[in-house]
Symmetry: C2
Subunit: 297 residues, 2 copies
Protein backbone atom coordinates (compact mmCIF):
# COMPACT_ATOMS: atom_id res chain seq x y z
CA UNK A 1 0.00 0.00 0.00
CA UNK A 2 1.26 3.42 -0.90
CA UNK A 3 2.24 5.63 1.99
CA UNK A 4 0.11 8.72 2.59
CA UNK A 5 1.77 11.92 1.42
CA UNK A 6 0.36 14.03 4.24
CA UNK A 7 1.25 14.82 7.84
CA UNK A 8 -0.53 13.93 11.02
CA UNK A 9 0.17 16.10 14.03
CA UNK A 10 -1.26 14.75 17.29
CA UNK A 11 -1.09 17.05 20.31
CA UNK A 12 -1.65 16.13 23.96
CA UNK A 13 -3.88 19.13 24.69
CA UNK A 14 -3.37 22.37 26.59
CA UNK A 15 -0.89 23.69 24.03
CA UNK A 16 0.10 27.34 24.24
CA UNK A 17 -2.35 29.38 22.17
CA UNK A 18 -0.80 32.72 23.00
CA UNK A 19 -3.89 33.93 24.82
CA UNK A 20 -2.71 33.74 28.41
CA UNK A 21 0.00 35.64 30.19
CA UNK A 22 2.68 33.47 31.71
CA UNK A 23 2.27 30.83 29.01
CA UNK A 24 5.12 29.86 26.78
CA UNK A 25 5.86 32.17 23.89
CA UNK A 26 3.94 31.21 20.78
CA UNK A 27 7.02 31.96 18.69
CA UNK A 28 9.36 29.77 20.73
CA UNK A 29 10.98 27.01 18.70
CA UNK A 30 9.26 24.45 20.95
CA UNK A 31 5.81 25.99 20.59
CA UNK A 32 3.48 23.35 19.21
CA UNK A 33 1.33 25.67 17.09
CA UNK A 34 4.44 27.24 15.59
CA UNK A 35 5.51 23.76 14.55
CA UNK A 36 2.08 23.11 13.04
CA UNK A 37 2.25 26.37 11.09
CA UNK A 38 5.81 25.64 9.92
CA UNK A 39 4.72 22.36 8.39
CA UNK A 40 1.66 23.90 6.74
CA UNK A 41 3.63 26.80 5.32
CA UNK A 42 5.99 24.39 3.57
CA UNK A 43 3.20 24.00 1.04
CA UNK A 44 3.65 27.61 0.02
CA UNK A 45 2.04 30.84 1.05
CA UNK A 46 -0.44 32.43 1.37
CA UNK A 47 -2.15 29.51 3.04
CA UNK A 48 -5.36 28.68 4.82
CA UNK A 49 -5.93 26.45 7.82
CA UNK A 50 -9.31 25.02 8.72
CA UNK A 51 -10.20 24.87 12.41
CA UNK A 52 -12.78 22.17 13.15
CA UNK A 53 -14.54 22.84 16.47
CA UNK A 54 -17.06 20.00 16.14
CA UNK A 55 -15.75 18.34 19.34
CA UNK A 56 -16.11 21.45 21.45
CA UNK A 57 -18.99 22.57 23.64
CA UNK A 58 -17.88 26.19 23.15
CA UNK A 59 -17.03 26.25 19.44
CA UNK A 60 -17.22 30.03 18.97
CA UNK A 61 -14.83 30.85 21.82
CA UNK A 62 -12.43 28.14 20.76
CA UNK A 63 -12.41 29.23 17.13
CA UNK A 64 -11.64 32.82 18.12
CA UNK A 65 -8.65 31.68 20.19
CA UNK A 66 -7.19 29.53 17.41
CA UNK A 67 -7.95 32.18 14.80
CA UNK A 68 -5.89 34.62 16.84
CA UNK A 69 -3.06 32.18 17.41
CA UNK A 70 -2.73 31.06 13.79
CA UNK A 71 -2.88 34.61 12.42
CA UNK A 72 -0.20 35.72 14.90
CA UNK A 73 1.94 32.89 13.56
CA UNK A 74 1.52 34.16 10.00
CA UNK A 75 -1.33 32.06 8.60
CA UNK A 76 -3.12 34.23 6.05
CA UNK A 77 -6.59 32.82 6.42
CA UNK A 78 -8.34 30.71 9.06
CA UNK A 79 -11.56 28.93 8.12
CA UNK A 80 -13.86 27.90 10.95
CA UNK A 81 -15.73 24.60 10.51
CA UNK A 82 -18.31 24.22 13.25
CA UNK A 83 -20.09 21.21 11.84
CA UNK A 84 -22.86 20.01 14.15
CA UNK A 85 -25.20 18.14 11.80
CA UNK A 86 -23.95 15.42 9.52
CA UNK A 87 -25.67 16.91 6.44
CA UNK A 88 -23.61 20.10 6.78
CA UNK A 89 -20.53 17.96 6.34
CA UNK A 90 -21.75 16.92 2.89
CA UNK A 91 -22.58 20.44 1.68
CA UNK A 92 -20.90 22.00 -1.36
CA UNK A 93 -20.06 25.15 0.59
CA UNK A 94 -18.16 23.21 3.25
CA UNK A 95 -16.29 21.17 0.66
CA UNK A 96 -15.36 24.29 -1.32
CA UNK A 97 -13.98 25.89 1.82
CA UNK A 98 -12.09 22.70 2.74
CA UNK A 99 -10.53 22.69 -0.73
CA UNK A 100 -8.89 26.05 0.02
CA UNK A 101 -7.19 24.70 3.16
CA UNK A 102 -3.61 23.46 3.32
CA UNK A 103 -4.38 21.76 6.61
CA UNK A 104 -7.05 21.05 9.19
CA UNK A 105 -6.88 21.47 12.95
CA UNK A 106 -9.30 19.47 15.13
CA UNK A 107 -9.78 21.19 18.49
CA UNK A 108 -10.42 19.46 21.81
CA UNK A 109 -13.76 18.56 23.35
CA UNK A 110 -15.48 15.21 23.05
CA UNK A 111 -13.96 12.77 20.60
CA UNK A 112 -17.29 10.97 20.17
CA UNK A 113 -18.83 14.19 18.85
CA UNK A 114 -16.06 14.27 16.25
CA UNK A 115 -16.42 10.71 15.04
CA UNK A 116 -20.21 10.45 15.23
CA UNK A 117 -20.76 13.75 13.41
CA UNK A 118 -18.01 13.52 10.80
CA UNK A 119 -17.40 9.80 10.21
CA UNK A 120 -18.35 8.81 6.66
CA UNK A 121 -19.17 12.36 5.52
CA UNK A 122 -17.85 13.94 2.33
CA UNK A 123 -15.96 16.40 4.51
CA UNK A 124 -14.02 13.63 6.21
CA UNK A 125 -13.56 11.71 2.98
CA UNK A 126 -12.06 14.75 1.30
CA UNK A 127 -9.66 15.20 4.22
CA UNK A 128 -8.66 11.55 3.91
CA UNK A 129 -8.16 11.82 0.15
CA UNK A 130 -6.06 14.93 0.45
CA UNK A 131 -4.00 13.36 3.26
CA UNK A 132 -3.23 10.39 1.06
CA UNK A 133 -2.44 12.33 -2.10
CA UNK A 134 -0.97 15.68 -1.02
CA UNK A 135 1.30 17.03 1.73
CA UNK A 136 -1.94 17.94 3.52
CA UNK A 137 -1.70 18.48 7.28
CA UNK A 138 -4.16 16.94 9.75
CA UNK A 139 -3.54 18.25 13.25
CA UNK A 140 -5.58 17.58 16.35
CA UNK A 141 -5.31 18.37 20.02
CA UNK A 142 -6.77 16.42 22.96
CA UNK A 143 -10.04 14.91 21.62
CA UNK A 144 -8.88 15.97 18.17
CA UNK A 145 -5.74 13.86 18.60
CA UNK A 146 -7.50 10.86 20.14
CA UNK A 147 -9.77 10.61 17.07
CA UNK A 148 -6.96 10.35 14.51
CA UNK A 149 -6.23 6.62 14.77
CA UNK A 150 -8.39 3.63 13.91
CA UNK A 151 -9.20 2.84 17.54
CA UNK A 152 -9.64 5.64 20.06
CA UNK A 153 -10.10 5.81 23.78
CA UNK A 154 -13.51 7.36 24.35
CA UNK A 155 -13.49 7.43 28.13
CA UNK A 156 -12.07 5.87 31.21
CA UNK A 157 -10.59 6.45 34.61
CA UNK A 158 -6.90 7.32 35.01
CA UNK A 159 -6.50 6.18 38.60
CA UNK A 160 -8.52 3.00 37.97
CA UNK A 161 -7.01 2.33 34.56
CA UNK A 162 -5.41 -0.84 35.92
CA UNK A 163 -8.85 -2.40 36.47
CA UNK A 164 -10.34 -4.36 33.59
CA UNK A 165 -13.20 -2.58 31.84
CA UNK A 166 -12.47 0.88 33.20
CA UNK A 167 -11.32 2.09 29.79
CA UNK A 168 -13.77 2.54 26.93
CA UNK A 169 -12.69 2.37 23.34
CA UNK A 170 -14.49 3.46 20.21
CA UNK A 171 -13.78 3.80 16.49
CA UNK A 172 -11.63 6.68 15.30
CA UNK A 173 -11.06 8.35 11.92
CA UNK A 174 -8.50 5.75 10.85
CA UNK A 175 -5.85 8.06 9.48
CA UNK A 176 -3.44 5.76 11.29
CA UNK A 177 -3.62 2.02 11.92
CA UNK A 178 -2.52 -0.11 14.88
CA UNK A 179 -2.00 2.97 16.98
CA UNK A 180 -3.95 4.27 19.91
CA UNK A 181 -3.41 7.80 21.15
CA UNK A 182 -3.98 9.12 24.65
CA UNK A 183 -3.60 12.76 25.70
CA UNK A 184 -2.97 14.88 28.84
CA UNK A 185 -0.90 11.81 29.61
CA UNK A 186 1.42 12.85 32.43
CA UNK A 187 -0.85 15.56 33.81
CA UNK A 188 -3.59 13.00 34.37
CA UNK A 189 -1.49 9.89 35.07
CA UNK A 190 -2.94 7.83 32.22
CA UNK A 191 -0.23 5.19 31.84
CA UNK A 192 -2.39 2.28 32.95
CA UNK A 193 -5.43 3.13 30.87
CA UNK A 194 -3.31 3.12 27.73
CA UNK A 195 -1.47 -0.04 28.85
CA UNK A 196 -4.83 -1.76 29.33
CA UNK A 197 -5.88 -1.05 25.75
CA UNK A 198 -2.53 -2.23 24.41
CA UNK A 199 -2.84 -5.44 26.46
CA UNK A 200 -6.15 -6.27 24.78
CA UNK A 201 -4.37 -6.46 21.42
CA UNK A 202 -0.59 -6.28 21.79
CA UNK A 203 -0.08 -5.43 18.14
CA UNK A 204 -1.25 -1.92 19.11
CA UNK A 205 1.24 0.86 19.66
CA UNK A 206 0.18 3.20 22.44
CA UNK A 207 1.16 6.85 22.12
CA UNK A 208 0.71 8.88 25.30
CA UNK A 209 0.96 12.61 24.64
CA UNK A 210 1.64 15.00 27.50
CA UNK A 211 0.07 18.47 27.66
CA UNK A 212 1.68 20.93 25.26
CA UNK A 213 3.56 18.09 23.56
CA UNK A 214 2.95 16.42 20.25
CA UNK A 215 4.13 14.13 17.51
CA UNK A 216 4.44 14.89 13.81
CA UNK A 217 3.89 11.70 11.84
CA UNK A 218 5.15 11.82 8.27
CA UNK A 219 3.82 9.37 5.70
CA UNK A 220 2.19 7.41 8.49
CA UNK A 221 5.57 6.25 9.74
CA UNK A 222 8.53 8.49 10.61
CA UNK A 223 7.68 10.73 13.48
CA UNK A 224 9.21 13.60 15.35
CA UNK A 225 8.40 14.78 18.84
CA UNK A 226 7.54 18.45 19.35
CA UNK A 227 6.67 20.62 22.33
CA UNK A 228 7.68 20.90 25.96
CA UNK A 229 6.99 17.51 27.56
CA UNK A 230 7.37 13.83 26.82
CA UNK A 231 5.67 11.37 24.53
CA UNK A 232 5.32 7.92 26.07
CA UNK A 233 5.40 5.03 23.61
CA UNK A 234 3.90 1.71 24.75
CA UNK A 235 4.94 -1.09 22.42
CA UNK A 236 2.83 -4.16 23.10
CA UNK A 237 4.47 -6.50 20.58
CA UNK A 238 6.75 -8.15 23.09
CA UNK A 239 4.11 -8.77 25.75
CA UNK A 240 4.51 -12.39 26.80
CA UNK A 241 1.57 -12.78 29.16
CA UNK A 242 -1.54 -10.96 30.15
CA UNK A 243 -4.49 -12.02 32.26
CA UNK A 244 -6.91 -9.66 30.54
CA UNK A 245 -9.00 -12.37 28.89
CA UNK A 246 -9.35 -14.49 31.99
CA UNK A 247 -10.33 -11.98 34.67
CA UNK A 248 -13.63 -10.28 35.42
CA UNK A 249 -14.37 -6.61 35.09
CA UNK A 250 -12.93 -4.45 37.86
CA UNK A 251 -10.17 -6.95 38.58
CA UNK A 252 -6.56 -5.75 38.19
CA UNK A 253 -4.87 -6.55 34.91
CA UNK A 254 -1.40 -8.00 34.56
CA UNK A 255 0.97 -7.99 31.63
CA UNK A 256 4.64 -8.77 31.17
CA UNK A 257 7.30 -7.22 28.95
CA UNK A 258 5.67 -4.07 27.76
CA UNK A 259 8.40 -2.00 26.11
CA UNK A 260 8.19 1.68 26.97
CA UNK A 261 9.99 4.69 25.52
CA UNK A 262 9.88 8.24 26.81
CA UNK A 263 10.69 10.63 24.00
CA UNK A 264 11.06 14.37 23.88
CA UNK A 265 11.54 17.24 21.47
CA UNK A 266 13.43 16.50 18.26
CA UNK A 267 13.61 12.79 18.93
CA UNK A 268 12.42 10.48 16.20
CA UNK A 269 10.36 7.33 16.21
CA UNK A 270 8.91 5.27 13.41
CA UNK A 271 5.39 4.24 14.39
CA UNK A 272 5.34 1.54 11.67
CA UNK A 273 8.67 -0.18 12.34
CA UNK A 274 8.57 0.82 16.03
CA UNK A 275 12.17 1.84 16.06
CA UNK A 276 13.91 5.10 16.76
CA UNK A 277 14.27 6.50 13.28
CA UNK A 278 17.85 7.48 12.57
CA UNK A 279 18.27 10.94 11.14
CA UNK A 280 19.06 9.61 7.68
CA UNK A 281 15.67 7.92 7.59
CA UNK A 282 14.05 11.35 7.47
CA UNK A 283 13.52 12.62 3.96
CA UNK A 284 15.61 15.49 2.66
CA UNK A 285 12.96 18.17 2.99
CA UNK A 286 12.61 17.21 6.63
CA UNK A 287 16.33 17.33 7.17
CA UNK A 288 16.35 20.86 5.78
CA UNK A 289 13.50 21.68 8.11
CA UNK A 290 15.39 20.19 11.02
CA UNK A 291 18.39 22.37 10.30
CA UNK A 292 16.17 25.41 10.35
CA UNK A 293 14.76 24.32 13.70
CA UNK A 294 18.24 23.79 15.09
CA UNK A 295 19.46 27.17 13.87
CA UNK A 296 16.62 28.77 15.75
CA UNK A 297 17.46 26.98 18.96
Amino acid sequence: MELPKGYLIAIGGAEDKGEKEGQFDLYHESAILRNVVDIIQQQGEPCTIGVVTTASSIPEEVSIIYDGAFRKLGITNVEHFDIIHREEADSKDILNRLEQCSGIFFTGGDQLKLTSRLGGTDFLNMIKDRYHNEPFVIAGTSAGAMALSNIMISGGSATKGHLKGRVKISIGFNFLENVIIDTHFNARGRFNRLAQVVATQPDMLGIGLEDDTGIIIRQGSNSQIIGYGTVTILDGKHITDTNISTINNDQPISLKNLVVHLLCKNEYFNVKTRTSAPVNAIDASQLAKKEVLQKNE
Copy 2:
Protein backbone atom coordinates in the same frame (compact mmCIF):
# COMPACT_ATOMS: atom_id res chain seq x y z
CA MET B 1 26.61 -13.50 50.03
CA GLU B 2 24.10 -15.48 52.00
CA LEU B 3 20.47 -14.68 51.31
CA PRO B 4 18.52 -13.09 54.17
CA LYS B 5 16.17 -15.52 55.90
CA GLY B 6 13.48 -12.92 56.52
CA TYR B 7 10.59 -11.41 54.62
CA LEU B 8 10.08 -7.90 53.34
CA ILE B 9 6.52 -6.79 52.74
CA ALA B 10 6.21 -3.46 50.94
CA ILE B 11 2.72 -1.95 50.71
CA GLY B 12 1.57 0.92 48.49
CA GLY B 13 -0.35 2.69 51.25
CA ALA B 14 -4.05 3.10 52.01
CA GLU B 15 -4.47 -0.59 52.81
CA ASP B 16 -7.69 -1.70 54.49
CA LYS B 17 -7.25 -1.40 58.26
CA GLY B 18 -10.78 -2.47 59.09
CA GLU B 19 -11.67 0.89 60.61
CA LYS B 20 -13.93 2.33 57.94
CA GLU B 21 -17.30 1.20 56.74
CA GLY B 22 -17.45 0.35 53.08
CA GLN B 23 -13.79 -0.72 53.00
CA PHE B 24 -12.76 -4.18 51.98
CA ASP B 25 -13.14 -6.92 54.55
CA LEU B 26 -10.02 -7.30 56.65
CA TYR B 27 -10.47 -11.06 56.56
CA HIS B 28 -10.72 -11.25 52.76
CA GLU B 29 -8.02 -13.42 51.20
CA SER B 30 -6.76 -10.34 49.32
CA ALA B 31 -6.56 -8.16 52.42
CA ILE B 32 -2.99 -6.93 52.76
CA LEU B 33 -2.86 -6.96 56.55
CA ARG B 34 -4.26 -10.48 56.63
CA ASN B 35 -1.39 -11.52 54.37
CA VAL B 36 1.09 -9.79 56.67
CA VAL B 37 -0.36 -11.59 59.69
CA ASP B 38 -0.36 -14.94 57.87
CA ILE B 39 3.35 -14.65 57.19
CA ILE B 40 4.13 -13.58 60.76
CA GLN B 41 2.04 -16.38 62.26
CA GLN B 42 4.07 -18.96 60.34
CA GLN B 43 6.72 -18.41 63.00
CA GLY B 44 4.39 -19.86 65.59
CA GLU B 45 1.90 -18.41 68.00
CA PRO B 46 1.35 -16.52 70.21
CA CYS B 47 3.21 -13.78 68.39
CA THR B 48 3.94 -10.11 68.74
CA ILE B 49 4.15 -7.47 66.03
CA GLY B 50 5.90 -4.14 66.51
CA VAL B 51 4.25 -1.09 64.97
CA VAL B 52 6.76 1.70 64.28
CA THR B 53 5.01 5.05 63.91
CA THR B 54 8.19 7.12 63.69
CA ALA B 55 7.25 8.37 60.21
CA SER B 56 3.82 9.60 61.27
CA SER B 57 2.73 13.05 62.40
CA ILE B 58 -0.12 11.43 64.37
CA PRO B 59 1.62 8.40 65.91
CA GLU B 60 -0.93 7.76 68.66
CA GLU B 61 -3.95 7.67 66.33
CA VAL B 62 -2.12 5.53 63.84
CA SER B 63 -0.94 3.05 66.46
CA ILE B 64 -4.48 2.62 67.79
CA ILE B 65 -5.77 1.82 64.30
CA TYR B 66 -3.08 -0.79 63.59
CA ASP B 67 -3.38 -2.21 67.09
CA GLY B 68 -7.07 -2.80 66.41
CA ALA B 69 -6.50 -4.26 62.96
CA PHE B 70 -3.74 -6.68 64.00
CA ARG B 71 -5.62 -7.88 67.06
CA LYS B 72 -8.76 -8.49 64.97
CA LEU B 73 -6.59 -10.61 62.70
CA GLY B 74 -5.40 -12.74 65.62
CA ILE B 75 -2.09 -11.19 66.62
CA THR B 76 -1.71 -11.74 70.37
CA ASN B 77 0.31 -8.68 71.19
CA VAL B 78 1.04 -5.40 69.43
CA GLU B 79 4.01 -3.32 70.58
CA HIS B 80 4.00 0.38 69.71
CA PHE B 81 7.37 1.93 68.87
CA ASP B 82 7.02 5.69 68.60
CA ILE B 83 10.69 6.54 68.43
CA ILE B 84 11.25 10.26 67.99
CA HIS B 85 14.77 10.78 69.35
CA ARG B 86 17.69 8.73 68.14
CA GLU B 87 18.85 7.89 71.67
CA GLU B 88 15.55 6.12 72.38
CA ALA B 89 16.38 3.77 69.53
CA ASP B 90 19.50 2.65 71.37
CA SER B 91 17.78 2.03 74.74
CA LYS B 92 17.72 -1.39 76.41
CA ASP B 93 13.96 -1.18 76.91
CA ILE B 94 13.31 -0.67 73.21
CA LEU B 95 15.67 -3.49 72.24
CA ASN B 96 14.07 -5.85 74.77
CA ARG B 97 10.65 -5.11 73.34
CA LEU B 98 11.92 -5.55 69.78
CA GLU B 99 13.34 -8.95 70.76
CA GLN B 100 9.81 -10.13 71.58
CA CYS B 101 8.51 -9.26 68.11
CA SER B 102 8.15 -11.71 65.22
CA GLY B 103 7.88 -8.81 62.83
CA ILE B 104 7.89 -5.04 62.49
CA PHE B 105 5.42 -2.82 60.65
CA PHE B 106 6.54 0.67 59.57
CA THR B 107 3.52 2.94 59.14
CA GLY B 108 3.19 5.77 56.64
CA GLY B 109 4.17 9.39 57.10
CA ASP B 110 7.46 10.95 56.09
CA GLN B 111 10.18 8.55 54.99
CA LEU B 112 12.90 11.05 55.93
CA LYS B 113 11.71 10.95 59.53
CA LEU B 114 12.16 7.18 59.43
CA THR B 115 15.64 7.15 57.99
CA SER B 116 17.02 10.17 59.84
CA ARG B 117 15.71 9.01 63.23
CA LEU B 118 16.42 5.28 62.93
CA GLY B 119 19.36 4.94 60.54
CA GLY B 120 22.41 3.53 62.32
CA THR B 121 20.64 2.95 65.65
CA ASP B 122 20.75 -0.29 67.61
CA PHE B 123 17.03 -0.65 66.97
CA LEU B 124 17.53 -0.69 63.21
CA ASN B 125 20.64 -2.84 63.46
CA MET B 126 18.76 -5.45 65.46
CA ILE B 127 15.98 -5.47 62.85
CA LYS B 128 18.58 -5.95 60.13
CA ASP B 129 20.32 -8.77 62.03
CA ARG B 130 17.08 -10.59 62.67
CA TYR B 131 16.00 -10.14 59.04
CA HIS B 132 19.23 -11.75 57.88
CA ASN B 133 19.24 -14.62 60.38
CA GLU B 134 15.59 -15.49 61.12
CA PRO B 135 12.27 -15.61 59.25
CA PHE B 136 11.68 -12.14 60.68
CA VAL B 137 9.09 -9.98 58.89
CA ILE B 138 9.73 -6.36 57.96
CA ALA B 139 6.57 -4.75 56.59
CA GLY B 140 6.04 -1.13 55.65
CA THR B 141 3.30 0.90 54.05
CA SER B 142 3.64 4.13 52.06
CA ALA B 143 6.64 5.95 53.62
CA GLY B 144 7.35 2.73 55.50
CA ALA B 145 7.67 0.89 52.18
CA MET B 146 9.70 3.60 50.41
CA ALA B 147 12.36 3.41 53.15
CA LEU B 148 13.03 -0.34 52.78
CA SER B 149 15.47 -0.22 49.86
CA ASN B 150 18.95 1.26 49.61
CA ILE B 151 17.79 4.29 47.62
CA MET B 152 14.42 5.85 48.32
CA ILE B 153 12.36 8.56 46.71
CA SER B 154 12.01 11.31 49.30
CA GLY B 155 9.87 13.71 47.32
CA GLY B 156 8.84 14.80 43.88
CA SER B 157 6.01 15.76 41.62
CA ALA B 158 3.90 13.11 39.92
CA THR B 159 2.61 15.26 37.06
CA LYS B 160 6.05 16.81 36.49
CA GLY B 161 7.95 13.57 37.04
CA HIS B 162 9.06 13.64 33.39
CA LEU B 163 11.11 16.81 34.02
CA LYS B 164 14.70 16.35 35.15
CA GLY B 165 15.29 17.16 38.79
CA ARG B 166 11.66 17.02 39.88
CA VAL B 167 12.26 13.79 41.82
CA LYS B 168 14.34 13.81 44.99
CA ILE B 169 16.11 10.70 46.20
CA SER B 170 17.61 9.92 49.55
CA ILE B 171 19.20 6.97 51.35
CA GLY B 172 16.96 4.20 52.62
CA PHE B 173 17.35 1.40 55.17
CA ASN B 174 19.09 -0.87 52.66
CA PHE B 175 17.17 -4.07 53.38
CA LEU B 176 17.11 -4.45 49.61
CA GLU B 177 19.66 -3.41 46.99
CA ASN B 178 19.27 -2.09 43.45
CA VAL B 179 15.57 -1.56 44.00
CA ILE B 180 13.61 1.63 44.36
CA ILE B 181 10.06 1.55 45.66
CA ASP B 182 7.29 4.04 44.95
CA THR B 183 3.82 3.95 46.50
CA HIS B 184 0.25 5.21 45.84
CA PHE B 185 1.45 4.52 42.32
CA ASN B 186 -1.69 4.44 40.19
CA ALA B 187 -3.74 6.68 42.45
CA ARG B 188 -1.19 9.47 42.04
CA GLY B 189 0.08 8.70 38.52
CA ARG B 190 3.71 8.27 39.53
CA PHE B 191 5.01 6.30 36.54
CA ASN B 192 7.32 9.04 35.30
CA ARG B 193 8.87 9.90 38.62
CA LEU B 194 9.90 6.29 39.11
CA ALA B 195 11.05 6.02 35.48
CA GLN B 196 13.24 9.10 35.98
CA VAL B 197 15.04 7.52 38.93
CA VAL B 198 15.55 4.28 37.02
CA ALA B 199 16.95 6.23 34.07
CA THR B 200 19.63 7.80 36.26
CA GLN B 201 21.06 4.33 36.94
CA PRO B 202 19.44 1.67 34.76
CA ASP B 203 20.65 -1.17 36.97
CA MET B 204 17.85 -0.12 39.32
CA LEU B 205 14.60 -2.02 39.44
CA GLY B 206 11.62 0.25 40.05
CA ILE B 207 8.68 -1.18 41.99
CA GLY B 208 5.52 0.93 41.84
CA LEU B 209 2.98 -0.17 44.43
CA GLU B 210 -0.65 0.84 44.04
CA ASP B 211 -2.83 1.68 47.05
CA ASP B 212 -3.93 -1.40 48.99
CA THR B 213 -1.45 -3.53 47.05
CA GLY B 214 1.87 -4.98 48.08
CA ILE B 215 4.73 -7.33 47.42
CA ILE B 216 6.11 -10.02 49.72
CA ILE B 217 9.81 -10.44 49.04
CA ARG B 218 11.28 -13.68 50.32
CA GLN B 219 15.03 -13.99 50.86
CA GLY B 220 15.52 -10.72 49.02
CA SER B 221 14.57 -12.34 45.74
CA ASN B 222 11.38 -14.33 45.08
CA SER B 223 8.36 -12.13 45.43
CA GLN B 224 4.62 -12.48 45.42
CA ILE B 225 2.05 -9.78 44.76
CA ILE B 226 -0.74 -9.30 47.30
CA GLY B 227 -3.74 -7.01 47.57
CA TYR B 228 -6.30 -5.50 45.26
CA GLY B 229 -4.39 -3.52 42.65
CA THR B 230 -1.32 -3.80 40.48
CA VAL B 231 2.40 -3.65 41.08
CA THR B 232 4.28 -1.95 38.26
CA ILE B 233 7.81 -3.19 37.67
CA LEU B 234 10.20 -0.91 35.77
CA ASP B 235 13.28 -2.82 34.65
CA GLY B 236 15.94 -0.37 33.51
CA LYS B 237 18.57 -2.92 32.46
CA HIS B 238 17.64 -2.84 28.79
CA ILE B 239 17.53 0.95 28.45
CA THR B 240 19.54 1.80 25.35
CA ASP B 241 19.53 5.58 25.49
CA THR B 242 18.63 8.34 27.85
CA ASN B 243 19.26 12.06 27.69
CA ILE B 244 19.25 12.50 31.46
CA SER B 245 22.94 13.37 31.79
CA THR B 246 22.93 15.90 28.96
CA ILE B 247 19.87 18.02 29.69
CA ASN B 248 19.28 20.79 32.20
CA ASN B 249 16.94 20.64 35.15
CA ASP B 250 13.26 21.05 34.26
CA GLN B 251 13.82 19.75 30.74
CA PRO B 252 11.92 16.60 29.70
CA ILE B 253 13.76 13.32 29.98
CA SER B 254 13.88 10.65 27.32
CA LEU B 255 14.71 6.99 27.56
CA LYS B 256 14.33 4.02 25.28
CA ASN B 257 13.50 0.38 25.97
CA LEU B 258 12.30 0.44 29.52
CA VAL B 259 10.74 -2.96 30.19
CA VAL B 260 7.54 -2.73 32.21
CA HIS B 261 5.45 -5.43 33.88
CA LEU B 262 2.08 -4.98 35.53
CA LEU B 263 1.56 -7.70 38.09
CA CYS B 264 -1.35 -8.55 40.32
CA LYS B 265 -2.35 -10.80 43.18
CA ASN B 266 -0.64 -14.19 43.36
CA GLU B 267 1.75 -13.43 40.54
CA TYR B 268 5.44 -13.96 41.20
CA PHE B 269 8.51 -11.98 40.34
CA ASN B 270 12.13 -12.42 41.31
CA VAL B 271 13.57 -8.98 42.09
CA LYS B 272 17.13 -10.32 41.84
CA THR B 273 16.94 -12.20 38.54
CA ARG B 274 14.18 -9.88 37.25
CA THR B 275 12.17 -12.76 35.91
CA SER B 276 8.72 -14.08 36.66
CA ALA B 277 9.49 -16.74 39.20
CA PRO B 278 7.86 -20.02 38.27
CA VAL B 279 5.80 -21.59 41.03
CA ASN B 280 8.43 -24.29 41.66
CA ALA B 281 10.95 -21.58 42.53
CA ILE B 282 8.93 -20.80 45.63
CA ASP B 283 10.00 -22.80 48.64
CA ALA B 284 7.85 -25.61 49.94
CA SER B 285 6.49 -23.77 52.97
CA GLN B 286 5.29 -21.07 50.63
CA LEU B 287 3.63 -23.58 48.35
CA ALA B 288 1.80 -24.97 51.35
CA LYS B 289 0.83 -21.44 52.27
CA LYS B 290 -0.36 -20.82 48.75
CA GLU B 291 -2.59 -23.84 48.85
CA VAL B 292 -4.15 -22.56 52.04
CA LEU B 293 -4.74 -19.21 50.38
CA GLN B 294 -6.32 -20.86 47.38
CA LYS B 295 -8.60 -22.99 49.53
CA ASN B 296 -9.84 -19.83 51.15
CA GLU B 297 -10.54 -18.17 47.83
